[in-house]
Symmetry: D2
Subunit: 345 residues, 4 copies
Amino acid sequence: MIKTAIAGASGYTGLELVKLISNHPKTSLEAVTSNSYQGKSFTDIFPSMRGFKSLICTPFDANELADKVDVVFLALPHKVSMAFAPKLVDRNIKVVDLSADFRFDDAKAYEAVYQPHTASNLLKESVYGLCELNRDRIKGARIIGNPGCYPTSILLPLVPLLKEKLISPQGLISDSKSGVSGAGRSLSLTTHYCEANEAFGPYKVGNHRHTPEINEVLTKAAGERVSLTFVPHLVPVTRGMVSTIYARTRKGAAEKQIRATLNRWYENEPFVRILPPDKFPNMSHVKGTNCCDIGFHLEPESGRLIIVSAIDNLLKGAAGQAVQNMNIMFEIDEKAGLDWVQTPL
Amino acid sequence: MIKTAIAGASGYTGLELVKLISNHPKTSLEAVTSNSYQGKSFTDIFPSMRGFKSLICTPFDANELADKVDVVFLALPHKVSMAFAPKLVDRNIKVVDLSADFRFDDAKAYEAVYQPHTASNLLKESVYGLCELNRDRIKGARIIGNPGCYPTSILLPLVPLLKEKLISPQGLISDSKSGVSGAGRSLSLTTHYCEANEAFGPYKVGNHRHTPEINEVLTKAAGERVSLTFVPHLVPVTRGMVSTIYARTRKGAAEKQIRATLNRWYENEPFVRILPPDKFPNMSHVKGTNCCDIGFHLEPESGRLIIVSAIDNLLKGAAGQAVQNMNIMFEIDEKAGLDWVQTPL
Amino acid sequence: MIKTAIAGASGYTGLELVKLISNHPKTSLEAVTSNSYQGKSFTDIFPSMRGFKSLICTPFDANELADKVDVVFLALPHKVSMAFAPKLVDRNIKVVDLSADFRFDDAKAYEAVYQPHTASNLLKESVYGLCELNRDRIKGARIIGNPGCYPTSILLPLVPLLKEKLISPQGLISDSKSGVSGAGRSLSLTTHYCEANEAFGPYKVGNHRHTPEINEVLTKAAGERVSLTFVPHLVPVTRGMVSTIYARTRKGAAEKQIRATLNRWYENEPFVRILPPDKFPNMSHVKGTNCCDIGFHLEPESGRLIIVSAIDNLLKGAAGQAVQNMNIMFEIDEKAGLDWVQTPL
Amino acid sequence: MIKTAIAGASGYTGLELVKLISNHPKTSLEAVTSNSYQGKSFTDIFPSMRGFKSLICTPFDANELADKVDVVFLALPHKVSMAFAPKLVDRNIKVVDLSADFRFDDAKAYEAVYQPHTASNLLKESVYGLCELNRDRIKGARIIGNPGCYPTSILLPLVPLLKEKLISPQGLISDSKSGVSGAGRSLSLTTHYCEANEAFGPYKVGNHRHTPEINEVLTKAAGERVSLTFVPHLVPVTRGMVSTIYARTRKGAAEKQIRATLNRWYENEPFVRILPPDKFPNMSHVKGTNCCDIGFHLEPESGRLIIVSAIDNLLKGAAGQAVQNMNIMFEIDEKAGLDWVQTPL
């Protein structure tokens, strides 16, 4: 059994991790930490868990954790993660970090949108945990930077097409839509029920922090500088994410080739589902799964490619991919604990 | 492994059964039948299942099923069930019927609100599958009438209090609220998005078919005729059910006794959670679980008892309880396949 | 033209008042005050108003208002209202107060659930603004205590039936359900989108502050002490309120009499709609109107009367009734500014 | 008073028209027709209207209408409109048609996506009722083709920018999102509550019938062939529409010029609101209004222009614009009956 702990368990991602780890056949959950709820019972925070999981939230203590666990999931805010992670890695505990702190190759790119990086040594060795694309490097890693939800939905379809030169790296657009749980459990007017209900609109147009994370990976895939136009929107649902991506095919690239390429990359992947022609993803089809659904349409005349991808922002976009990363790191069945569909209805 | 089939798999209850049975450690799913979708892939009906479960819907054929399975779940409309069930029982296949057809002891009570009963012999032997209260009889049963969702939410709290004479059998009221999935997948103006969204109100006031089902069980528990006032309401959520029940305590019954009684009946039950004082159920706390949460408040002066119960209408109110019944019938761990929390957020 | 001001315009009730007053044929809106947004444009707080109403929020100043207006709507929190109201009344400005501060006849009843009353002289002269029942006293009033939303939905159907001795004053129950806007615009975990969405449950069981307000009026109507059992619930919609009320008819009272009585009291009332037999109210039917819909069903055998009433909590439950009160106070057409249906869909 | 009738009043657009016309200071509503509900009271179809508007639905009869009214709004399905419209125009009744039948200049473009046009003479004289852009021609028109909701949201921002050569006519994309009421009141699985709730995704990718309607107008504005990439999505709200539009600026066009141009075209328009820098539209800001909100962001490096527009699909996208067209046709105040905000909360 892999012994695990979850730091920052009182947020929505924390809750998902607790559920996934509790239902995982090869793990035990040894500790949950929470700053704001220390000493409290986990079921007082999330009454749905009553009777299923009896846990008391403790403060984060690297020494205590080192005695108890093999891996820690950090479901913490940016900045807090990079303070905690080195203490764990130093004690030979593996880390899957769900913040942005260990997602970048380039500390400067990180610092341009977040803050000074205080653990840049560790940043150098951390692996970007986009499982399907970085599996080999994840295996040996001591620390994983678990991808953002928007980047996951955008990178999975685009990386293969850029690598295989089927689409132009210029003029890429992602019009993305997220459920409200992406904004977390902290209170704000934007996520106040009467403001988010029966509403829909874009936010952070032109300056969302996920943009550089996306561009760094796309640039590597394309072999030249990529600058995606990214517009996120808030949808009145609790969970789910859809990205509608617009690209231009390179001369000659036909629908057949695009399909063949995506199939080649993903047909053996359990968590990427390439939809048949004329079928498109919907948030409701991936809710409660670790899947990324991908559908596409090629406008014959213009060569414009429309790709639609969908994930559950809390699963493949956060806790699910984190568990998938752990499965790869520990070289157990990658599907363990993820091979089922939670409530899709 | 218990070999199972699900008849009527294309409805919402059918989908839940497919998911539960697929994740159940001791069962295999051998067939799904659907009248309207025969020959179609199950994932065409419910795209969320793509990659998880590959199934083709077949027409219902008792002989074929008899060769393949040990038990059939009938997630069929009233009337269809009583045509199919005898064919299965005759072939020594156990049946868990989710329609109303095998819920009544008294064929006349059934016929008063449904239609003439065409399998009244089988009705005599069928057991009302309210697991916590009828466990012993369920064990040996060949056919189970799986309780309605409203009755489940009302009977679990009331039966113990009536049996132990803590509340009066007169003047009982249940003000109940159901999510829209309770109305199924058939189209109607009531469940058209723009009509159900941002709306709330009662329906079938004074003549809901679940009332006689509830009264039959309450009458037996009380040892005298009970006639509950039942008012169902439609809530704009997909899944969930709350019943707010009003009763009068018998002279002398104090909060302490009520709590002690409910605890005594249910403290070892995995799927009934008696909430601590001043805590009350919410649909969101039971969503994705097979639990019935029960909280209560006794008005000191008036002796009025307010009981609130909550279930997931598709799980404890339908598919979850059906699986629990199967577990009991086959004498395996009652929690098998049900010991986890699906997406509560 | 009646010159008006709205104090506390930045809440949801304030917004409704601004819209109603702006569309009212006999009023002008001279000032809006807001503590938290002073100096800000009203359209920055509520972008929907851009182009329709250009207003700057000012701090509350009784002297300034006295020079400008005939009447002030106080859409302020409890306690703040009773500090502001006397200053206005002293300057001969009429006041419609939407807080609880001037709703009670009995200061002690108020103090038992709120705080010490610092304007009890004014409390003595203030009139409870339930328009249909107190019209004569409202006419001459200087200050109105605008009723709570729950009380409005409960009192309109019950007062006539109690006064005419058709129902027993004992054993009354109201199982009430409110949309989330009833909780206002202040942030809380309860009204955080992901907590309120796809959720439903009771709150403040046994101790909601509206209970004594309701009981004071019912007691007067019955001529004997009434103690209603009141259980409020939160529904995932923005606006709307339904109360399902349970009463016992007095011996001999038949459906016909009940209907005749309600019709006699309300058939000439523009804002109370007694529904025909077998029709019941729904939040969606009153949304955007100042109406209270009332439907009922009498269980023939038990004599149990089920009454369902529905209002828009922000209109008949708050801002709409406040404007109706102003219309009565100034003896203009009672329907002015309220004789239309906003977005019911 | 302008005498009006509404044909097809039992749909959601019909209901909006009834409300708008009933509150309009210069019109009377003489008749409502409905095929499916003839002989029924309008308040039986829409109980919210009880007490406000007493109307009986009649069958459509051109002779009867000709005796009674000056103008008829046709809120009918495609094809039915072109059968009815000529009968009215022949009798000197003005027509505002809300179907697609009279929106096209080119009958062939219409026939390519709908069906053979049976009133092509009338099509030649009909005016495309995009009020802000075609006001002069609308004035003298006998028949108006009221624009589709998607086209309205896309054309209002794009036409000025194309006409003034600030953006390239190549590579235009509109990623559009509509509330569910856009699909009307006819039942379908897509608009069944449990399917649309907690869901989001694209539909009709590559073949929505609004695309040729949009392209015809854009082509005229640009003076060269325009082929917009259009992807509509369904959002789980009742009403509202947002289009996120991607364009490339022509060399030299700066944010300043774009803003100046939009302001010049629209600053005196009561129903187009150009938002200040860094502000973006939201469905909730236009709900219940006849406004189109437009915000934009220019990516400095790439020259990519991101324009976001929002309308209420049932008002500026249908019934509101229809009334605005009538106001222009009859040369009364264009804002009459539209100069207020319905429930934005």
